[in-house]
Symmetry: C2
Subunit: 379 residues, 2 copies
Amino acid sequence: MLSLSKHCFFFWTKIGLSATSRTIELPNPLALDGGGELAQARLAYETYGELNDNRSNAILLCHALTGDQYVASTHPVTGKPGWWERMVGPGKPIDTDRFHVICANVIGSCMGSSGPASEAPDGTPYAMRFPVITIRDMVRAQVALLDELGIEKVHAVVGGSMGGMQALSLAANWPERAARVLVIASTSRHSAQNIAFHELGRQAVMADPNWAQGNYYATELQPDNGLAVARMAAHITYLSEEALTEKFGRNLQDRDAKSFGFDADFQVESYLRYQGSGFTQRFDANSYLYITRAMDYFDLAEEHGGKLADAFAGTEARFCLVSFDSDWLYPTSESRHVVRALNAAGAAVSFVELSAPHGHDSFLLDVPALDRVVKGFLG
Amino acid sequence: MLSLSKHCFFFWTKIGLSATSRTIELPNPLALDGGGELAQARLAYETYGELNDNRSNAILLCHALTGDQYVASTHPVTGKPGWWERMVGPGKPIDTDRFHVICANVIGSCMGSSGPASEAPDGTPYAMRFPVITIRDMVRAQVALLDELGIEKVHAVVGGSMGGMQALSLAANWPERAARVLVIASTSRHSAQNIAFHELGRQAVMADPNWAQGNYYATELQPDNGLAVARMAAHITYLSEEALTEKFGRNLQDRDAKSFGFDADFQVESYLRYQGSGFTQRFDANSYLYITRAMDYFDLAEEHGGKLADAFAGTEARFCLVSFDSDWLYPTSESRHVVRALNAAGAAVSFVELSAPHGHDSFLLDVPALDRVVKGFLG
């Protein structure tokens, strides 16, 4: 049960803005897949909607790589709306008039949960001494949070992208904890190309001299340049070629002719630079290393003896998988691969490939068909 | 005509190896699309096979972004075989028993032709004072080289990737200079996604403090880290997702289990790191900026009033376009776009999409069907 004394506020240090989120310190050390455990692990989380009396209306929402717990509330650093406000709220597909939505910042991240920027027992930031974690470790922490909140079984676990990996991991490893599993634009394993793009991003961060082997917290100098390059690389993978063409094409930015220089002549260049620099304001470079590593390590079949169907043996949950036809990061074939495994395991599963032009980011954008699928599946 | 006094040797400074290539200084200043001109422009080139008496058997071979003139001879820096030895040589599809193959290092590059690493009139390297160039500028320099070599019309102009852009540019702007135009795995314009990947690479280079606004030539410190990241990003685009999966999958590198650290656990990580670091031994970071910029600026239709067919109006050359079904950098649709324009211009054109698993790099690899197409088209 939740002990109020474990709650605390956290302070976002990077740009000096204060922000509040409920934070809980897990009562037991968190066992980790890499061996060992994380003592005094903290999870920062937000909730939306009321938990009903029999604690049966909770939805565990799992965020993506650079997401956080601010699903439907203003982000304390950027001041922007929550990342899924179009999906979560009163009367929305994930209806907070009916459901109690819980979203926790994953461990390894930097919005209040334990991560490389957190204080280690010696009073200084962990930095690269933070243990390498896995998707299952992230989920294990969230299951411990559910324990603390007194929620035995959620109505549904829901996630897109890395959130979908967490949903699959929960379904496979704690099958009794979720009645429904909704996995959007995700995969059961990182492909060689997925790993390649993440490795590129990690190398960009580590190539930045300000990274300083991860020990930059006490300095004014942050590895922002490297992190911005990493974000640019990732961002390209989030959008379809068609979306980039439709949105930017070869349009020039604030000029009538090419500059014959190295300014951002093209709109797409300007956009990428903006995405890169904006990201560094809200995200910790070491967290980026740790979370991308966790995603690259993710291979649900490998965790279960090499056969994906075995991961879901005996499950009684209902599954829904959604892919987008323009998503080349986690293409439809990856969702089909999961669906086939669920079929082989005898699970109740529905699957839909939605047509949307935006690529992987479609799960965050205005795709009315997704709203209908989510609403319908949650019942 | 070629003046022997214009020949000279160049010295590869980056790692201290000496290398020889024939180098010519163009007799007239090279007019540039960006305005102005490049005085004393030098072109380093290699030739293979004998020029016949009526000078009608020349093939102008145009290299790709990081290619060079060492098509079928040992690279002086890496000691590796030429980049197209499988295609060019006695009895090979581009048969040097029959053809006189000429390949010049493009201006802007770093293997002996004028580029940012070259000496400016003031005796110090141009660095970022080198003018921003275009694909057409590169071709204009090569046409000037043909003038000097006394070759009015080549039997064929041939190129893959950026080489194909040059072939198209020559056909559009100097239609009387080539009887045949062979364009492999290329495009008539850079897409928003193409630009995005290049901008990512440029930002990686420029984020490296050793780049020092381009003024690193006099120092021991080179922007190798940034350039390696740029190369990694580009390299991912050269391979298909299938090729990466087939080649590496999720295989671990020299270990039986994940390290739960940030070493290159996966083979694909190790491979990318190797690609990145190897590249910095043979390529100049500023050249990478200039050549990617030239490619991003490339839009053959725009150069000709916005209609691609007009670029080829009245051409008497025969064209052949080849694409690969797994190439997602310059997909088949881009080749079809060119073919439609050529059809509209009434040009003689053949087109084939080849099935090959390697992605964009297929044009450099063992694809016997490509050999047959090249041999057949050259006649």
